[in-house]
């Protein structure tokens, strides 16, 4: 039921990784080119305001430093997202600690955000962002990965540590909630 996932991702990335391992540094540039913007979107959607560049860079540096541990049972993109998500969680934990607040619930990486409102030109998009605030963190994360990346449920499930079926339910519940919000607006 891995419907609607990226069709082009897996094999091209594997080939690029092999080229990089074989000594072609330009393959690394291509890999970055393919995924950097998606990672930046994910970081931004999780509420990061500053240092998105640094987060994305850190993700790639970590990935390339442990590329040997990458197993092709998920796509490279999902693996990169997993690394970034861990970085985001670490940051949020540190932030929480600083604020001396309650422990962050495991697996709920995504929080309130309004960082990029200045980038959002149109009213409908702003409304969608507002609608996100009514979703659970997990619903929101699934929804964002699904709509902005077209990521398959199976890949999302690996990323957030859930099942395909559960992610599908999260997505459709989120979509219904967003529609209701837009209807009421």
């Amino acid at each position: 039921m891995d419907v609607g996932g990226r069709q082009d991702d897996g094999s091209a990335d594997i080939a690029l990784i092999e080229r990089w391992k074989g000594g072609d540094q330009r393959a690394a540039a291509e890999i970055v080119q393919r995924h950097a913007q998606a990672l930046a979107r994910f970081a931004a959607s999780s509420g990061e305001r500053e240092e998105i560049d640094e987060l994305v860079q850190d993700t790639f540096v970590r990935a390339f430093n442990s590329l040997d541990s990458f197993r092709a049972d998920s796509t490279l993109r999902t693996w990169l997202f997993t690394i970034l998500r861990r970085l985001l969680l670490d940051r949020k934990r540190a932030e929480k600690r600083r604020r001396n607040q309650v422990e962050l619930d495991e697996g709920h990486a995504v929080e309130a955000y309004d960082a990029l409102d200045t980038l959002v030109a149109d009213e409908t998009a702003i409304q969608v962002r507002r609608a996100m605030e009514r979703l659970s963190p997990l619903q929101k994360e699934v929804f964002v990965l699904r709509v902005t990346e077209g990521m398959a449920y199976g890949e999302i499930a690996k990323l957030v540590g859930s099942t395909e079926g559960a992610c599908r339910v999260h997505y459709h519940n989120a979509m219904r909630s967003v529609k209701e919000f837009l209807d009421d607006a």
């Binding site: 074989g22 540094q25 931004a44 980038l119």
Partner: protein, 219 residues
Amino acid sequence: MMHDCADGQMRDLLPGYVNKTLSAEDHAAVDNHLATCDDCVAEIEVIEAAVRAFAAPQVNIAKIVKALPATPRSAKRSMFAGTAWRVAAAIGVVLIGAGSVFALRGFFVPAGTQTQTAAVAPAPAASATLATTEPVAPPAPVAAPIATAATTNAPAASSKHRGTTISFGGGLSDLSDAQLDALMSELDALDSIPSAEPETHLTPIVPMIPQADGGHHAQ
């Protein structure tokens, strides 16, 4: 009032449709469906708005690429080249200075002014890596780190290199003549590349020492 389309399978294709990640076949199927389904058209509009809502600032690709580690192959090769140069340079020095195999061996006992060269011998990590390296590949585009391995004193010694390699044991003597030929021609090709740091040609060996973090250079 927005409703959910009853065709769940079709709805599952919509995000991929917006992100243009569907197969041509699926994309066409969605196109056909949208012609008759207002619910899915409305949902497409929500998805498109969400995509706009989560736009992110343009990341600096070049800066990220610069921060990445060198490829394992180029790291190996630069270390390889660096070792070969030092070996070749050592032979050159020995041939000029002493000219005997005994002197050659003595040369590798760390002693005073020759500490630089002594660093060649106790580098098991380097030898191990060399031994497991597959036959030297046809020269790929020369990566930058290799250039720093080229030193000005070595090329003169390179022609004497092949005959005396056997004295050194370890990585280099494990190579076949053909591999050495390939190596040497590759190194020769570097002669014309100016070295940015002629006095620091030992440095490439440092990142090859296995690191606590399970360094990626070691396979």
